[in-house]
Protein backbone atom coordinates (compact mmCIF):
# COMPACT_ATOMS: atom_id res chain seq x y z
CA UNK A 1 0.00 0.00 0.00
CA UNK A 2 1.34 3.42 -0.84
CA UNK A 3 0.93 6.04 1.83
CA UNK A 4 -0.24 9.50 0.95
CA UNK A 5 2.40 12.03 1.90
CA UNK A 6 1.47 14.39 4.69
CA UNK A 7 -0.83 17.22 3.73
CA UNK A 8 0.73 20.56 2.94
CA UNK A 9 2.91 19.75 -0.05
CA UNK A 10 1.17 18.99 -3.31
CA UNK A 11 3.27 16.36 -5.04
CA UNK A 12 3.44 16.94 -8.78
CA UNK A 13 2.75 13.84 -10.85
CA UNK A 14 5.82 12.53 -12.71
CA UNK A 15 4.30 12.66 -16.16
CA UNK A 16 1.83 15.31 -17.18
CA UNK A 17 -1.76 14.24 -17.46
CA UNK A 18 -3.24 15.11 -20.81
CA UNK A 19 -6.80 16.34 -21.19
CA UNK A 20 -8.30 16.96 -24.63
CA UNK A 21 -11.46 18.90 -25.40
CA UNK A 22 -13.39 17.92 -28.53
CA UNK A 23 -16.92 17.08 -29.49
CA UNK A 24 -17.66 17.30 -33.15
CA UNK A 25 -19.77 20.41 -33.58
CA UNK A 26 -18.28 23.84 -34.15
CA UNK A 27 -19.12 26.73 -31.85
CA UNK A 28 -20.41 24.67 -28.92
CA UNK A 29 -17.81 26.18 -26.61
CA UNK A 30 -14.81 23.84 -26.71
CA UNK A 31 -12.33 26.73 -26.58
CA UNK A 32 -14.23 28.58 -23.87
CA UNK A 33 -14.31 25.45 -21.75
CA UNK A 34 -10.66 24.58 -22.39
CA UNK A 35 -9.46 28.09 -21.55
CA UNK A 36 -11.44 28.41 -18.34
CA UNK A 37 -10.58 24.86 -17.24
CA UNK A 38 -6.92 25.72 -17.76
CA UNK A 39 -7.23 28.83 -15.60
CA UNK A 40 -9.04 26.81 -12.92
CA UNK A 41 -6.31 24.16 -12.85
CA UNK A 42 -3.64 26.86 -12.55
CA UNK A 43 -5.53 28.60 -9.77
CA UNK A 44 -5.74 25.31 -7.89
CA UNK A 45 -1.96 25.29 -7.84
CA UNK A 46 -1.03 22.84 -10.60
CA UNK A 47 1.12 23.86 -13.54
CA UNK A 48 -0.99 23.83 -16.67
CA UNK A 49 -0.18 24.23 -20.35
CA UNK A 50 -2.99 24.98 -22.77
CA UNK A 51 -2.31 23.70 -26.27
CA UNK A 52 -4.26 25.23 -29.13
CA UNK A 53 -4.43 22.33 -31.58
CA UNK A 54 -7.08 24.01 -33.72
CA UNK A 55 -4.56 25.01 -36.36
CA UNK A 56 -7.18 26.17 -38.80
CA UNK A 57 -9.01 28.30 -36.25
CA UNK A 58 -6.73 29.10 -33.35
CA UNK A 59 -8.49 31.17 -30.68
CA UNK A 60 -6.89 30.55 -27.32
CA UNK A 61 -4.36 33.39 -27.54
CA UNK A 62 -7.26 35.76 -28.16
CA UNK A 63 -9.37 34.41 -25.31
CA UNK A 64 -6.35 34.80 -23.01
CA UNK A 65 -5.42 38.22 -24.37
CA UNK A 66 -1.84 37.35 -25.25
CA UNK A 67 0.01 37.88 -28.49
CA UNK A 68 1.20 34.71 -30.12
CA UNK A 69 4.66 35.23 -31.52
CA UNK A 70 5.70 31.63 -31.66
CA UNK A 71 3.41 28.66 -31.87
CA UNK A 72 2.97 25.10 -33.05
CA UNK A 73 3.87 26.26 -36.55
CA UNK A 74 7.48 26.68 -35.49
CA UNK A 75 7.62 23.01 -34.53
CA UNK A 76 6.36 21.95 -37.92
CA UNK A 77 8.87 24.05 -39.82
CA UNK A 78 11.69 23.05 -37.43
CA UNK A 79 12.32 26.59 -36.11
CA UNK A 80 11.83 25.24 -32.61
CA UNK A 81 12.86 21.83 -31.40
CA UNK A 82 10.60 21.38 -28.40
CA UNK A 83 7.22 22.53 -27.17
CA UNK A 84 8.98 23.50 -23.95
CA UNK A 85 10.74 26.26 -25.97
CA UNK A 86 7.55 27.92 -27.16
CA UNK A 87 5.52 28.17 -23.97
CA UNK A 88 3.93 31.61 -23.80
CA UNK A 89 3.27 33.06 -20.32
CA UNK A 90 -0.36 34.09 -19.96
CA UNK A 91 -0.04 36.54 -17.09
CA UNK A 92 -1.81 33.98 -14.91
CA UNK A 93 0.47 32.13 -12.51
CA UNK A 94 1.01 28.47 -13.42
CA UNK A 95 -0.59 28.84 -16.84
CA UNK A 96 1.23 28.79 -20.18
CA UNK A 97 0.02 28.58 -23.75
CA UNK A 98 1.23 26.76 -26.81
CA UNK A 99 -0.43 28.80 -29.50
CA UNK A 100 -1.87 27.46 -32.72
CA UNK A 101 -1.83 30.85 -34.39
CA UNK A 102 0.19 31.69 -37.48
CA UNK A 103 0.01 28.16 -38.75
CA UNK A 104 0.36 27.92 -42.49
CA UNK A 105 -2.57 26.64 -44.49
CA UNK A 106 -1.20 23.15 -44.98
CA UNK A 107 -0.47 22.70 -41.30
CA UNK A 108 -4.10 22.15 -40.35
CA UNK A 109 -3.67 18.67 -41.79
CA UNK A 110 -0.29 17.44 -40.59
CA UNK A 111 1.26 14.31 -42.00
CA UNK A 112 1.09 11.15 -39.97
CA UNK A 113 4.75 11.34 -38.89
CA UNK A 114 4.38 14.96 -37.83
CA UNK A 115 1.34 14.08 -35.80
CA UNK A 116 3.14 11.29 -33.97
CA UNK A 117 6.05 13.59 -33.23
CA UNK A 118 3.70 16.21 -31.86
CA UNK A 119 1.90 13.66 -29.69
CA UNK A 120 5.21 12.47 -28.23
CA UNK A 121 6.18 16.05 -27.48
CA UNK A 122 2.88 16.81 -25.78
CA UNK A 123 3.50 14.10 -23.23
CA UNK A 124 6.98 15.51 -22.59
CA UNK A 125 5.93 19.05 -21.69
CA UNK A 126 7.18 20.05 -18.29
CA UNK A 127 3.86 20.61 -16.47
CA UNK A 128 1.24 18.80 -14.40
CA UNK A 129 -1.72 19.11 -16.74
CA UNK A 130 -1.67 19.52 -20.53
CA UNK A 131 -4.98 20.74 -21.87
CA UNK A 132 -5.54 20.42 -25.62
CA UNK A 133 -8.21 22.40 -27.44
CA UNK A 134 -9.28 20.51 -30.57
CA UNK A 135 -10.97 21.73 -33.69
CA UNK A 136 -14.48 20.80 -34.72
CA UNK A 137 -15.12 17.74 -36.84
CA UNK A 138 -14.34 14.05 -36.63
CA UNK A 139 -11.23 13.81 -38.79
CA UNK A 140 -8.41 11.49 -37.79
CA UNK A 141 -6.33 14.49 -36.86
CA UNK A 142 -8.81 15.45 -34.20
CA UNK A 143 -9.68 11.95 -33.09
CA UNK A 144 -6.11 10.77 -32.64
CA UNK A 145 -5.44 13.56 -30.15
CA UNK A 146 -8.74 12.94 -28.44
CA UNK A 147 -8.01 9.23 -28.08
CA UNK A 148 -4.43 9.75 -26.95
CA UNK A 149 -5.47 11.91 -23.99
CA UNK A 150 -5.78 10.45 -20.50
CA UNK A 151 -9.03 12.36 -20.19
CA UNK A 152 -10.91 12.90 -23.45
CA UNK A 153 -13.63 15.49 -22.83
CA UNK A 154 -16.59 16.09 -25.14
CA UNK A 155 -18.41 19.40 -25.10
CA UNK A 156 -22.01 19.32 -26.27
CA UNK A 157 -24.70 21.98 -26.51
CA UNK A 158 -28.33 20.99 -25.87
CA UNK A 159 -29.38 21.08 -29.50
CA UNK A 160 -30.21 18.19 -31.85
CA UNK A 161 -27.42 19.25 -34.21
CA UNK A 162 -24.78 19.22 -31.52
CA UNK A 163 -26.02 15.90 -30.10
CA UNK A 164 -26.00 14.37 -33.56
CA UNK A 165 -22.43 15.48 -34.24
CA UNK A 166 -21.30 14.41 -30.78
CA UNK A 167 -22.53 10.86 -31.31
CA UNK A 168 -20.94 10.78 -34.72
CA UNK A 169 -17.70 12.00 -33.16
CA UNK A 170 -17.84 9.49 -30.32
CA UNK A 171 -18.63 6.68 -32.69
CA UNK A 172 -15.69 7.62 -34.91
CA UNK A 173 -13.35 7.84 -31.91
CA UNK A 174 -14.49 4.48 -30.55
CA UNK A 175 -14.29 2.85 -33.94
CA UNK A 176 -10.74 4.07 -34.52
CA UNK A 177 -9.67 2.90 -31.10
CA UNK A 178 -11.42 -0.40 -31.68
CA UNK A 179 -9.64 -1.03 -34.97
CA UNK A 180 -6.32 -0.19 -33.32
CA UNK A 181 -7.10 -2.72 -30.59
CA UNK A 182 -8.04 -5.25 -33.26
CA UNK A 183 -4.68 -4.67 -34.95
CA UNK A 184 -2.87 -5.07 -31.64
CA UNK A 185 -4.65 -8.35 -31.01
CA UNK A 186 -3.66 -9.40 -34.54
CA UNK A 187 -7.12 -10.26 -35.74
CA UNK A 188 -7.47 -7.54 -38.38
CA UNK A 189 -8.21 -10.06 -41.12
CA UNK A 190 -10.95 -11.72 -39.12
CA UNK A 191 -12.52 -8.35 -38.30
CA UNK A 192 -12.30 -7.20 -41.90
CA UNK A 193 -13.95 -10.37 -43.08
CA UNK A 194 -16.70 -10.00 -40.51
CA UNK A 195 -17.27 -6.38 -41.51
CA UNK A 196 -17.28 -7.23 -45.20
CA UNK A 197 -20.37 -9.34 -44.79
CA UNK A 198 -21.65 -7.40 -41.83
CA UNK A 199 -25.20 -7.47 -42.98
CA UNK A 200 -25.10 -11.24 -43.02
CA UNK A 201 -23.62 -11.22 -39.51
CA UNK A 202 -25.77 -8.36 -38.27
CA UNK A 203 -22.76 -6.29 -37.17
CA UNK A 204 -23.63 -2.63 -36.99
CA UNK A 205 -21.52 -1.39 -34.12
CA UNK A 206 -18.11 -2.07 -32.57
CA UNK A 207 -20.04 -3.65 -29.72
CA UNK A 208 -21.59 -6.25 -32.00
CA UNK A 209 -18.30 -6.82 -33.75
CA UNK A 210 -16.66 -7.43 -30.38
CA UNK A 211 -19.31 -9.99 -29.50
CA UNK A 212 -18.61 -11.71 -32.81
CA UNK A 213 -14.83 -11.71 -32.26
CA UNK A 214 -15.24 -13.06 -28.72
CA UNK A 215 -17.14 -15.93 -30.22
CA UNK A 216 -14.73 -16.60 -33.09
CA UNK A 217 -11.47 -15.91 -31.27
CA UNK A 218 -11.99 -15.74 -27.48
CA UNK A 219 -8.41 -14.71 -26.59
CA UNK A 220 -8.30 -11.80 -29.00
CA UNK A 221 -11.87 -10.91 -28.07
CA UNK A 222 -11.12 -10.60 -24.39
CA UNK A 223 -7.90 -8.64 -25.05
CA UNK A 224 -9.83 -6.17 -27.18
CA UNK A 225 -12.63 -6.09 -24.64
CA UNK A 226 -10.31 -5.05 -21.85
CA UNK A 227 -8.60 -2.43 -24.04
CA UNK A 228 -12.02 -0.93 -24.78
CA UNK A 229 -13.19 -1.15 -21.16
CA UNK A 230 -10.51 1.39 -20.27
CA UNK A 231 -12.15 4.00 -22.50
CA UNK A 232 -13.79 6.58 -20.25
CA UNK A 233 -14.82 9.66 -22.18
CA UNK A 234 -16.05 12.65 -20.19
CA UNK A 235 -18.86 15.04 -21.04
CA UNK A 236 -19.66 18.69 -20.40
CA UNK A 237 -22.98 20.18 -21.54
CA UNK A 238 -22.50 23.87 -22.36
CA UNK A 239 -24.79 26.79 -23.20
CA UNK A 240 -27.73 25.38 -21.27
CA UNK A 241 -30.79 27.61 -21.45
CA UNK A 242 -33.64 25.36 -20.35
CA UNK A 243 -33.68 23.98 -16.83
CA UNK A 244 -34.54 20.47 -17.99
CA UNK A 245 -31.35 20.35 -20.05
CA UNK A 246 -29.28 20.37 -16.86
CA UNK A 247 -30.09 16.62 -16.76
CA UNK A 248 -29.24 16.02 -20.38
CA UNK A 249 -25.68 14.98 -19.53
CA UNK A 250 -26.86 12.13 -17.31
CA UNK A 251 -29.19 10.95 -20.02
CA UNK A 252 -26.43 11.04 -22.62
CA UNK A 253 -24.34 8.90 -20.26
CA UNK A 254 -27.13 6.30 -20.07
CA UNK A 255 -27.50 6.40 -23.84
CA UNK A 256 -23.75 5.80 -24.26
CA UNK A 257 -24.03 2.78 -22.01
CA UNK A 258 -27.01 1.40 -23.91
CA UNK A 259 -25.84 2.09 -27.46
CA UNK A 260 -22.06 1.91 -27.26
CA UNK A 261 -21.41 -0.04 -24.07
CA UNK A 262 -19.21 2.84 -22.94
CA UNK A 263 -18.95 4.34 -19.50
CA UNK A 264 -19.17 8.02 -20.23
CA UNK A 265 -18.77 10.32 -17.26
CA UNK A 266 -20.90 13.43 -17.11
CA UNK A 267 -18.85 16.20 -15.52
CA UNK A 268 -21.42 18.97 -15.34
CA UNK A 269 -23.63 21.50 -17.05
CA UNK A 270 -22.76 25.13 -17.83
CA UNK A 271 -25.52 27.64 -18.33
CA UNK A 272 -25.54 30.09 -21.16
CA UNK A 273 -24.15 33.25 -19.60
CA UNK A 274 -23.66 36.70 -21.12
CA UNK A 275 -20.58 37.14 -18.98
CA UNK A 276 -18.90 34.45 -21.08
CA UNK A 277 -19.53 36.53 -24.18
CA UNK A 278 -18.22 39.71 -22.53
CA UNK A 279 -15.15 37.87 -21.26
CA UNK A 280 -14.24 37.00 -24.84
CA UNK A 281 -14.73 40.63 -25.89
CA UNK A 282 -12.51 41.69 -22.98
CA UNK A 283 -10.03 38.93 -23.84
CA UNK A 284 -9.86 37.87 -20.20
CA UNK A 285 -11.13 34.45 -19.13
CA UNK A 286 -14.11 34.60 -16.79
CA UNK A 287 -12.42 32.12 -14.48
CA UNK A 288 -9.66 34.70 -13.88
CA UNK A 289 -11.78 37.83 -13.53
CA UNK A 290 -14.85 36.41 -11.75
CA UNK A 291 -13.83 33.15 -10.08
CA UNK A 292 -16.87 33.24 -7.80
CA UNK A 293 -19.57 33.47 -10.47
CA UNK A 294 -21.68 30.42 -11.21
CA UNK A 295 -19.95 29.55 -14.48
CA UNK A 296 -16.55 29.69 -12.81
CA UNK A 297 -17.51 27.63 -9.78
CA UNK A 298 -18.90 24.86 -11.98
CA UNK A 299 -15.72 24.89 -14.05
CA UNK A 300 -13.62 24.81 -10.90
CA UNK A 301 -15.62 21.85 -9.61
CA UNK A 302 -15.01 20.02 -12.87
CA UNK A 303 -11.29 20.77 -12.68
CA UNK A 304 -11.09 19.43 -9.14
CA UNK A 305 -12.96 16.33 -10.12
CA UNK A 306 -10.66 15.61 -13.06
CA UNK A 307 -7.55 16.23 -10.99
CA UNK A 308 -8.77 13.73 -8.43
CA UNK A 309 -9.72 11.15 -11.03
CA UNK A 310 -6.22 11.42 -12.45
CA UNK A 311 -4.72 10.99 -9.06
CA UNK A 312 -6.79 7.90 -8.34
CA UNK A 313 -5.83 6.50 -11.74
CA UNK A 314 -2.14 7.05 -11.04
CA UNK A 315 -2.00 5.95 -7.44
CA UNK A 316 -4.72 3.34 -7.47
Amino acid sequence: MTEDPSPGQPIPPQVPRVWAVGGGKGGVGKSVVATNLGVAVARLGLRCVLVDADLGGANLHTMLGVSAKKGLASIFNHESASLNDILIPTGIANLHLVSGAQALLDMANPKHAQKLKLLRQLFAIDADIILIDLSAGSSFNVIDFFNAAHDPIMVVAPTPTSIENAYHFLNAALHRRFMQAVAKAEVTELAKKALADKNANGLHSPRELLRYLCHEHPDAGSAIGSMMAGVRPKLIVNQVRREEDMHLGDQIAYACHDFYGVKLEYLGGLRSDDRVVSSILDRKPLQATQPACQFSTVIEGIAMRLINRDREAQHG
Binding site: P7, P10, I11, D250, I252, H257, G301, E312
Partner: protein, 170 residues
Amino acid sequence: MDESYEILGLAPGAERSEVKRAYQRRKELYSRGSLAIYSLASESDRESRLEQVESAYQRILSFMHLHGDEGEHTNSDHSPSAPMPDPEMAPGEYLRWARNQAGLSIRQLADRTKISTMRLDDIESERIDHLPPPVYLRGFVYEFARSLGLVNAFQLSEFYLRRVASGLDD
Protein backbone atom coordinates in the same frame (compact mmCIF):
# COMPACT_ATOMS: atom_id res chain seq x y z
CA MET B 1 -32.32 -12.14 -14.37
CA ASP B 2 -28.92 -10.53 -14.80
CA GLU B 3 -30.02 -9.43 -18.22
CA SER B 4 -32.88 -7.44 -16.75
CA TYR B 5 -30.49 -5.59 -14.49
CA GLU B 6 -28.19 -4.96 -17.45
CA ILE B 7 -31.06 -3.40 -19.41
CA LEU B 8 -31.46 -0.89 -16.60
CA GLY B 9 -27.68 -0.37 -16.54
CA LEU B 10 -27.36 -1.98 -13.11
CA ALA B 11 -25.16 -4.64 -11.58
CA PRO B 12 -27.06 -7.79 -10.57
CA GLY B 13 -28.43 -7.57 -7.08
CA ALA B 14 -28.77 -3.79 -7.01
CA GLU B 15 -30.96 -2.46 -4.23
CA ARG B 16 -34.62 -1.69 -4.65
CA SER B 17 -34.17 2.09 -4.47
CA GLU B 18 -31.47 1.96 -7.13
CA VAL B 19 -33.63 -0.20 -9.37
CA LYS B 20 -36.49 2.26 -9.08
CA ARG B 21 -34.25 5.22 -9.85
CA ALA B 22 -32.63 3.48 -12.82
CA TYR B 23 -36.05 2.55 -14.17
CA GLN B 24 -37.33 6.12 -13.97
CA ARG B 25 -34.21 7.43 -15.70
CA ARG B 26 -34.40 4.92 -18.54
CA LYS B 27 -38.08 5.68 -18.97
CA GLU B 28 -37.22 9.33 -19.36
CA LEU B 29 -34.34 8.53 -21.73
CA TYR B 30 -36.64 6.58 -24.04
CA SER B 31 -39.59 8.94 -23.85
CA ARG B 32 -40.96 10.47 -27.03
CA GLY B 33 -38.86 13.35 -28.33
CA SER B 34 -35.94 12.61 -25.98
CA LEU B 35 -33.03 14.84 -27.02
CA ALA B 36 -30.37 12.53 -25.56
CA ILE B 37 -31.09 9.77 -28.08
CA TYR B 38 -31.44 12.08 -31.06
CA SER B 39 -29.93 10.38 -34.16
CA LEU B 40 -29.22 7.21 -32.14
CA ALA B 41 -32.59 5.53 -32.23
CA SER B 42 -35.42 5.41 -34.75
CA GLU B 43 -38.96 5.82 -33.47
CA SER B 44 -39.59 2.07 -33.55
CA ASP B 45 -36.23 1.35 -31.89
CA ARG B 46 -37.10 3.83 -29.16
CA GLU B 47 -40.47 2.18 -28.58
CA SER B 48 -39.05 -1.32 -28.38
CA ARG B 49 -36.34 -0.18 -25.96
CA LEU B 50 -38.98 1.43 -23.79
CA GLU B 51 -40.89 -1.85 -23.74
CA GLN B 52 -37.69 -3.72 -22.82
CA VAL B 53 -37.10 -1.35 -19.92
CA GLU B 54 -40.68 -1.79 -18.73
CA SER B 55 -40.57 -5.58 -18.77
CA ALA B 56 -37.08 -5.71 -17.21
CA TYR B 57 -38.37 -3.60 -14.34
CA GLN B 58 -41.43 -5.81 -13.86
CA ARG B 59 -39.25 -8.95 -13.89
CA ILE B 60 -36.93 -7.52 -11.23
CA LEU B 61 -39.85 -6.44 -9.07
CA SER B 62 -41.45 -9.86 -9.08
CA PHE B 63 -38.05 -11.45 -8.47
CA MET B 64 -37.62 -9.23 -5.42
CA HIS B 65 -41.12 -10.06 -4.27
CA LEU B 66 -40.38 -13.80 -4.45
CA HIS B 67 -37.27 -13.28 -2.36
CA GLY B 68 -39.14 -11.54 0.39
CA ASP B 69 -37.88 -8.01 -0.23
CA GLU B 70 -40.98 -6.01 0.54
CA GLY B 71 -39.46 -2.67 -0.12
CA GLU B 72 -38.45 0.45 1.71
CA HIS B 73 -36.31 0.05 4.77
CA THR B 74 -33.67 2.36 6.10
CA ASN B 75 -30.11 1.24 6.53
CA SER B 76 -28.64 4.07 8.51
CA ASP B 77 -26.71 3.29 11.64
CA HIS B 78 -27.49 6.68 13.12
CA SER B 79 -30.95 7.89 13.85
CA PRO B 80 -32.01 10.32 11.13
CA SER B 81 -32.97 12.80 13.79
CA ALA B 82 -29.43 13.03 15.23
CA PRO B 83 -28.42 16.67 15.89
CA MET B 84 -26.51 18.43 13.14
CA PRO B 85 -22.80 18.93 13.86
CA ASP B 86 -21.32 22.36 13.15
CA PRO B 87 -19.94 22.22 9.57
CA GLU B 88 -17.23 24.74 10.41
CA MET B 89 -15.99 23.18 13.64
CA ALA B 90 -16.46 19.54 12.64
CA PRO B 91 -16.74 19.28 8.84
CA GLY B 92 -15.95 15.54 8.87
CA GLU B 93 -18.67 14.79 11.36
CA TYR B 94 -21.01 17.04 9.45
CA LEU B 95 -20.39 15.03 6.28
CA ARG B 96 -21.06 11.76 8.09
CA TRP B 97 -24.25 13.21 9.51
CA ALA B 98 -25.36 14.41 6.07
CA ARG B 99 -24.64 11.00 4.58
CA ASN B 100 -26.74 9.30 7.21
CA GLN B 101 -29.51 11.79 6.64
CA ALA B 102 -29.47 10.77 3.00
CA GLY B 103 -29.71 7.12 4.07
CA LEU B 104 -26.52 6.17 2.23
CA SER B 105 -23.85 3.71 3.32
CA ILE B 106 -20.17 4.49 2.74
CA ARG B 107 -20.19 1.79 0.06
CA GLN B 108 -23.07 3.43 -1.81
CA LEU B 109 -21.38 6.80 -1.62
CA ALA B 110 -18.15 5.28 -2.92
CA ASP B 111 -20.04 3.93 -5.92
CA ARG B 112 -21.49 7.34 -6.57
CA THR B 113 -18.36 9.40 -6.14
CA LYS B 114 -15.76 6.85 -7.31
CA ILE B 115 -13.82 7.74 -4.18
CA SER B 116 -12.69 4.69 -2.19
CA THR B 117 -14.55 3.72 0.99
CA MET B 118 -11.32 4.01 2.93
CA ARG B 119 -10.76 7.57 1.79
CA LEU B 120 -14.37 8.56 2.52
CA ASP B 121 -14.01 7.12 5.98
CA ASP B 122 -10.74 9.01 6.51
CA ILE B 123 -12.49 12.22 5.52
CA GLU B 124 -15.44 11.64 7.82
CA SER B 125 -13.17 10.74 10.70
CA GLU B 126 -10.79 13.63 9.94
CA ARG B 127 -7.81 11.24 10.01
CA ILE B 128 -5.42 14.00 9.16
CA ASP B 129 -2.34 11.79 8.68
CA HIS B 130 -4.10 9.73 6.05
CA LEU B 131 -5.50 12.60 4.02
CA PRO B 132 -4.05 13.61 0.62
CA PRO B 133 -2.46 17.03 -0.03
CA PRO B 134 -4.83 20.04 0.02
CA VAL B 135 -5.08 20.44 -3.74
CA TYR B 136 -6.63 16.97 -3.95
CA LEU B 137 -8.36 16.93 -0.60
CA ARG B 138 -10.38 19.98 -1.57
CA GLY B 139 -11.81 18.13 -4.54
CA PHE B 140 -12.60 15.01 -2.55
CA VAL B 141 -14.52 16.96 0.06
CA TYR B 142 -16.27 18.94 -2.64
CA GLU B 143 -17.26 15.76 -4.47
CA PHE B 144 -18.39 14.10 -1.25
CA ALA B 145 -20.61 17.03 -0.36
CA ARG B 146 -21.89 17.52 -3.87
CA SER B 147 -22.92 13.91 -4.30
CA LEU B 148 -25.06 14.28 -1.18
CA GLY B 149 -26.73 17.23 -2.86
CA LEU B 150 -25.38 19.71 -0.30
CA VAL B 151 -25.59 23.25 -1.60
CA ASN B 152 -22.68 24.41 0.54
CA ALA B 153 -20.19 22.00 -1.06
CA PHE B 154 -17.67 24.75 -1.81
CA GLN B 155 -17.89 26.36 1.57
CA LEU B 156 -17.54 22.98 3.18
CA SER B 157 -14.33 22.19 1.32
CA GLU B 158 -12.98 25.53 2.56
CA PHE B 159 -13.94 24.69 6.15
CA TYR B 160 -12.34 21.32 5.81
CA LEU B 161 -9.02 22.66 4.52
CA ARG B 162 -8.94 25.30 7.21
CA ARG B 163 -9.54 22.63 9.80
CA VAL B 164 -6.73 20.48 8.43
CA ALA B 165 -4.38 23.47 8.20
CA SER B 166 -5.02 24.29 11.84
CA GLY B 167 -3.89 20.74 12.62
CA LEU B 168 -7.19 20.00 14.39
CA ASP B 169 -5.53 21.41 17.50
CA ASP B 170 -8.29 23.69 18.71
